[in-house]
C-alpha cells in the first residue's frame, strides 16, 4: 500500500531543493516528461545527480520517443521545472522517490519545438488577450478489477454513496495521494457508469493544470493497482455506458467585460472541429462523441444544457467557460494549448458565437442547425485530422514539428485501426455471409 508523506515545501533555489531532497530521504528522482501523445515518460536518477539535473545536464535518447526527433537530433536535454518537485506516495529502495516535471531542450540550449510543455507555455504567452487565464479540470476515469477486463466492483451511478464499493475506497486513496503531492483537489464523486469516477481540480495556471493531469493519471494507475484494480483513462471502454471526459474550464477572471467571454466562446466553437483532433486523439475517442450520455456532438454553446460543447454557467459575470469535448486520453499540454489559442483567436478577431441554446442539443433538427450555423464535431479520428489540416490557426499553435509529428502518428494509428478486423464484424458477418 502507498503511504502518504508529509506535504513537501517547494524551494525555489537549486541548493535548497537538493537539501530538501536529502532531508526527505529521497533516493531517486524521476525526471518526468510527456511525449507527443501525453504519455508520461521518465528518466530515474539517483538523488546524487539532482544538481546535474537542475543544471540541465541530464540527456536522453530522443530517438526512442515517438514523434520527438528526426534522424540526427538524438541527444535531448531534460530541463526540470523546480516548481513541480513532489514526493511520490511510495517507497523506493528503503527511501523515498521524488519527481520533477521537465521541459525538453536541444543540446545547444534551444527549446525543442516538439516539446508539448514548451508549446503550452508559448500558447499561453501568445494568448495575452485572455489575460492570465486559469484552468479548472474535471477528470473522469474507470476503475476495473485487475486482469485487463472491464468487470467493476460496484453497480453505482451518478453521485452514488454505496457501501462495499471498493472503487470508492480506491478513489479516496487516489485523492489522498494527489493531495499529498499538492494537487488542488476540489471534489471527487462516482460518475454515471459502474466503476466510473470523477476527480475535479481547482483552477490554477494552465501549465500546472496540464502537469496535474499527467500526475493524476500516473498516481491513479499506481494506487489502483494497490487495490487490485486497473485505472483507465480510455475515453470509451464500455459500449453501452457513458464515456470518460476531461472537462476543461477556462476562467477568464481578467476579462474586461462580457464581450471577451463571448468572443472566447466564439473562438472555441469556430476552431472546435480542428481542436478535436488534439482533444480527442484516439480512434476510441469518437465512440464517446455520440448523441448519448450528454456527450457533445455539435458546435453549440449554452448556459445550462449538459450536452452543449461549450457551457457558460450563469451568471456570465463569473467569466467561466467550460469546454466539454476533451477526453482524458489527450495530451493535456497540447489540448490546453489549442483551446487557449482558439479562445485567444476568437477574442483577437471578435468572433461571435451565435445565440446560446436552451434545452438539449440532441433535439436540434438539421434545419435548426443550419439556421443557427451549428456544425458537427468530427465523427472519426481521420475526419478530425482533415479538420486540423484545414485550420491554419490551430496548426500555428502547435508549430510545424508537432503538427506533422502528431498528424503522421495519428494517421498511422487510424490506418492500423481501419485495417483491423474487429469482433463486432465477426459477430455481424461471419455466419451471415
Amino acid at each position: 500500500m502507498h503511504s502518504t508523506p508529509e506535504t513537501p515545501k517547494r524551494p525555489a533555489g537549486k541548493r535548497d531543493l537538493i537539501k530538501l531532497a536529502r532531508e526527505c530521504d529521497v533516493r531517486f528522482v524521476r525526471l518526468v516528461f510527456a511525449d507527443i501523445f501525453g504519455v508520461s515518460k521518465n528518466v530515474s536518477i539517483p538523488v546524487e545527480r539532482l544538481g546535474e539535473a537542475l543544471d540541465g545536464r541530464i540527456t536522453f535518447d530522443g530517438g526512442s520517443i515517438d514523434g520527438f526527433v528526426r534522424g540526427e537530433e538524438l541527444d535531448m536535454v531534460l530541463r526540470p521545472d523546480p516548481a513541480t518537485y513532489a514526493l511520490y506516495p511510495w517507497s523506493a529502495a528503503g527511501g523515498k522517490e521524488a519527481r520533477l516535471i521537465c521541459d525538453i531542450g536541444m543540446p545547444d540550449g534551444a527549446p525543442f519545438e516538439g516539446c508539448p510543455r514548451t508549446t503550452l507555455r508559448r500558447a499561453v504567452e501568445s494568448a495575452a488577450p485572455l489575460g492570465g487565464v486559469r484552468i479548472g479540470l474535471e477528470v473522469e476515469f474507470f476503475l476495473f478489477e485487475s486482469g485487463g477486463g472491464t468487470a467493476t466492483s460496484d453497480v453505482g451511478s451518478y453521485f452514488d454513496f454505496s457501501a462495499n464499493d471498493r472503487g470508492e475506497v480506491a478513489r479516496n486513496a487516489i485523492v489522498d495521494a494527489l493531495r499529498a503531492m499538492e494537487l488542488p483537489i476540489a471534489s471527487a464523486h462516482h460518475e454515471h457508469a459502474p466503476g466510473q469516477h470523477e476527480i475535479d481540480l481547482l483552477a490554477c495556471d494552465p501549465l500546472a493544470a496540464a502537469d496535474h493531469v499527467l500526475t493524476l493519471r500516473t498516481i491513479a494507475k499506481h494506487v489502483a493497482a494497490d487495490f487490485g484494480m486497473d485505472a483507465t483513462f480510455m475515453p470509451k471502454p464500455l459500449e453501452d455506458r457513458a464515456g470518460s471526459g476531461l472537462h476543461v474550464e477556462l476562467r477568464l477572471d481578467a476579462a474586461d467585460d462580457e464581450s471577451t467571454v463571448l468572443y472566447a466562446v466564439g473562438g472555441l466553437l469556430a476552431h472546435a472541429p480542428a481542436t478535436t483532433a488534439i482533444c480527442n486523439p484516439t480512434v476510441n475517442s469518437y465512440k464517446r462523441l455520440v448523441a448519448a450520455w450528454d456527450a457533445p456532438i455539435y458546435t453549440v454553446w449554452s448556459e445550462r444544457s449538459a450536452n452543449a460543447l461549450v457551457r457558460v454557467p450563469p451568471p456570465s459575470s463569473s467569466r467561466r467557460v467550460e469546454m466539454r469535448s476533451p477526453d482524458p486520453a489527450c495530451n493535456p499540454y497540447l489540448a490546453l494549448a489549442v483551446l487557449i489559442g482558439a479562445a485567444g483567436d476568437g477574442i483577437a478577431r471578435g468572433t461571435l458565437p451565435g445565440s446560446a441554446l436552451a434545452g438539449s442539443t440532441y433535439d436540434l433538427s438539421e434545419r435548426e442547425r443550419h439556421e443557427r450555423g451549428v456544425g458537427m464535431l468530427p465523427k472519426s479520428l481521420r475526419q478530425a485530422i482533415s479538420e486540423l489540416d484545414a485550420d491554419p490557426v490551430v496548426r500555428a499553435i502547435l508549430g510545424d514539428h508537432l503538427y506533422h509529428a502528431f498528424r503522421d502518428a495519428k494517421l498511422a494509428e487510424y490506418e492500423r485501426y481501419r485495417r483491423a478486423v474487429h469482433q463486432w464484424e465477426r459477430d455481424a458477418y461471419l455466419r451471415l455471409y
Binding site: 467585460d257 462580457e258 451565435g354 443550419h370 439556421e371 443557427r372
Partner: protein
C-alpha cells in the same frame, strides 16, 4: 500661390488631418488659404462640408475636382473663386480622399438605395431588386434594422463617420447604412438566424466598444426584428422605438432589442384590442403549450400568484400545495418564458400579459 505657399498649404493640411480635424476642418482651411468658397458633396449631391460663401442660387464652380479612392468616386470638391489656386485644391482633394477612405465608406454609392429601402418607397420587391443591382447590392432574404444615435448632438460629420467606421468593425460585410439625424441606420442582411443573433450581440456590444475609442463616442441604439426586404421600414421603426424606450428605461449607453422589451413597446406605442390580444397570446403561448403537453398548472399558478399580490404562502394555500411547490413552479415559469423574476421589466411583461388575457381572451 507660389511653390513655397503650396508646400506650406500641404503641410498645414497634413497637420490638420494628423490631429483628426476631419473633412470640415480641411475644407475650412483650404477656403481660408485660397480665399474661395468651397463645397464638398457626395456623388448623390448631398453636402458633406462647406466653407466660405458659396453662391446662392448655386452657380457653375470655378474649379471642380473629383475626390477618388482608386476608381471609386467618393465626393466632388467645388470651389468658387480664383482659378489660379488649382494646385492647392488638388492637394485638398487628395487629403479629403484619404480622410473619407480612412473613415470608412463616408458616402458609399449605395447609401441612397438603403435609405429608399428603409423608407419603403419602392413600388415592389422587383423594383427594389433592380435598384439594388444598380447600386451593387444583392438583396438578402431578410433584414434586421438597427438605429444608432450619438448621445450628444455633435456638429460636423466626423462623429457620424466614426460611427460608420465602428459599425464596419462590428458587423459582417454586406450591411447597409445611411445617416439618420444624429446617428446611423444600419440594415443587417439576415439569411439565417445565426446572422440575426450575431448582429444583435454585436449591436449590444457597440456602446462599450465606442466608449473605448479615442476620442470616445457615446451612443445608444435600438434593434428591430427580422423582416423581409419589403418591410425594412417596420424593422427600422421598431429599432427607433426600442432606442427611445431603452433611453427612458435604462438611460443612455445601451442598445435595446425591440422584442426583448416585453410590454414596454405596447405601452409606448399603444394599440387596439387586437394588438393587446396578440401580445398576451405571444407572451403566454410557451406556458400554455407546456401545460397542455405535461398536464401541469403553470398558467393557473401564475395568474393566482399575481392575484394574491405575489405572496407565495397565500398562493400555496389557495392551490392546496406546499409553498416549495409554488417556488418550483415559478422557477419553471421563468425558464419556459425565458424571464427572470428579479427583473421588474419581466414581471411587468408577465403581469400585463395575464391582465390582458383575463380581459380580452
Amino acid at each position: 500661390m507660389t511653390p513655397e505657399e503650396v508646400v506650406r498649404f500641404a503641410e498645414a493640411q497634413a497637420q490638420i488631418a494628423a490631429e483628426g480635424g476631419g473633412i470640415a476642418a480641411l475644407t475650412r482651411h483650404a477656403a481660408t488659404a485660397t480665399a474661395a468658397a468651397i463645397v464638398l458633396e457626395d456623388p448623390e449631391g448631398r453636402r458633406l462640408a462647406a466653407a466660405g460663401e458659396p453662391p446662392d442660387p448655386p452657380a457653375a464652380a470655378t474649379v471642380e475636382l473629383p475626390v477618388r479612392a482608386g476608381a471609386r468616386d467618393l465626393a466632388v470638391v467645388r470651389a468658387y473663386g480664383s482659378p489660379h489656386d488649382r494646385p492647392a485644391l488638388r492637394l485638398l482633394a487628395a487629403a479629403l480622399a484619404l480622410e473619407l477612405a480612412r473613415n470608412g465608406r463616408a458616402a458609399p454609392p449605395s447609401d441612397a438605395f438603403w435609405q429608399r429601402l428603409a423608407e419603403g418607397t419602392f413600388r415592389d420587391l422587383d423594383a427594389a431588386r433592380d435598384e439594388a443591382a444598380a447600386a451593387g447590392v444583392t438583396l438578402a432574404g431578410g433584414y434586421l434594422a438597427i438605429a444608432l444615435e450619438l448621445e450628444q448632438p455633435e456638429p460636423g460629420g466626423a462623429p457620424i463617420r466614426r460611427l460608420r467606421a465602428l459599425a464596419a468593425d462590428a458587423f459582417s460585410a454586406g450591411f447597409g447604412a445611411f445617416d439618420r439625424g444624429n446617428g446611423l441606420a444600419v440594415l443587417l442582411p439576415v439569411e439565417r438566424s445565426l446572422d440575426a443573433s450575431n448582429g444583435r450581440t454585436a449591436a449590444a456590444l457597440l456602446p462599450k466598444a465606442a466608449a473605448k475609442r479615442q476620442p470616445p463616442l457615446h451612443l445608444a441604439g435600438g434593434i428591430g426584428t427580422v423582416v423581409p426586404p419589403s418591410e425594412v421600414r417596420r424593422s427600422l421603426e421598431q429599432a427607433s422605438a426600442a432606442l427611445s424606450i431603452g433611453r427612458r428605461i435604462h438611460g443612455n449607453g445601451k442598445v435595446c432589442a425591440y422584442d426583448e422589451l416585453g410590454a414596454y413597446p405596447l405601452l409606448y406605442e399603444g394599440g387596439g384590442v387586437e394588438r393587446l390580444r396578440a401580445f398576451a397570446q405571444r407572451t403566454l403561448a410557451p406556458l400554455r403549450a407546456y401545460d397542455e403537453k405535461h398536464q401541469t398548472e403553470l398558467l393557473r399558478t401564475l395568474r393566482l400568484y399575481f392575484e394574491v399580490g405575489q405572496n407565495v404562502k397565500t398562493a400555496a394555500a389557495t392551490l392546496y400545495v406546499h409553498r416549495h411547490t409554488v417556488f418550483y413552479r415559478l422557477r419553471q415559469i421563468a425558464e419556459i418564458c425565458n424571464i427572470s423574476w428579479e427583473s421588474p421589466m419581466d414581471q411587468l411583461t408577465l403581469r400585463t400579459a395575464v391582465a390582458i388575457d383575463a380581459l380580452h381572451s
